[in-house]
Symmetry: C2
Subunit: 184 residues, 2 copies
Amino acid sequence: MPSTKESIIHLADEFIRSRGYTAFSYADISKPLGIKNAAVHYHYPSKSDLAVALVEWHIDHFERFKEKNESKSPADQIKTFLNFYHSIHLSGKVCLIGAFSTDWNSINEDTQGLLRTFTNLVIDWLSEVLQKGLDTGAFNFANAPRAEALRVLTNIFAAAQLSRITDSQDFILVKESIIRELTK
Amino acid sequence: MPSTKESIIHLADEFIRSRGYTAFSYADISKPLGIKNAAVHYHYPSKSDLAVALVEWHIDHFERFKEKNESKSPADQIKTFLNFYHSIHLSGKVCLIGAFSTDWNSINEDTQGLLRTFTNLVIDWLSEVLQKGLDTGAFNFANAPRAEALRVLTNIFAAAQLSRITDSQDFILVKESIIRELTK
DNA sequence: GTCTATATTCCGATAGAC
DNA sequence: GTCTATCGGAATATAGAC
């Protein structure tokens, strides 16, 4: 049974990644929980406190993701990562990085700083996994590890965004071509 | 000398691509023009009228972009396209597709439909140019044209978003690796 | 920890004068 | 085409009771 504080974070995550940071209100969160506006402010005094807590939640979540998958092969780790984005796509939302990157000038400096930390965590992890796959012969690419990590990350998170506009098939096309390119 | 109506579109474009659709107000537009709130509503009665007009402006702009570059080689057309995104990156903004894709659930159906038209215009143009480059031997890739177009587009527009969070160098890394991959 | 009540500001939008 | 004036509502946020 999640606490009210956890439920608030969960709903904020839903709204921020489906509509955007500026587009949701404390009322959007309090209503489905059956509580009042002021109760949400008790847990997170300001909207930016909520934004910071959300990024912290994603950092924790990603650390657990890394641990849970560290024994897998590089190819399986990348596939699991891409499958995570596939579930984002199916939910009709975008990822935290994509959402906050377009909301960049609407979030405060604390949130920006923590988001930078989180984003580099993801890029660094991707770089390491890709490098390992290159060493073991599972992957084949000519870029520097960070450049290759950036290409995989930008491909997949933008595919989740773009396929909202065009077609679900476009997400599949991108996802499959990433795997094909890496393993060719 | 731009008309008020044109200046409004220009400012809306600035705000939507730097902050997001929900994050700007009619007051943001009227103030720098030295006019009142109500004058903006005269030209664009509702905010969604403004959003529709902005997408129409980008469609017109892209059609002119295509005509102006149609005599270039496929490699130069792609480079011009990537340079356009480079200027977006330098301005600290994101592209219209990136901005509205995360604002998707905050824009009305008319805007969504027109944005879908615009996005497919861009993807179709990229597909054609890439295919032509493949035919002439300028490019080398194994994907279907649309899949390759999607990879280029998602790479470059997400690089503009991601480099807001991390570092300007990350945009350069992605841009250069796109060209390198295509021409290798 | 949640409530009622409220302060304050801003929002998109409209009516009617000029 | 722009103005003044204003409406109705929603936003973030706080004070103080329970």
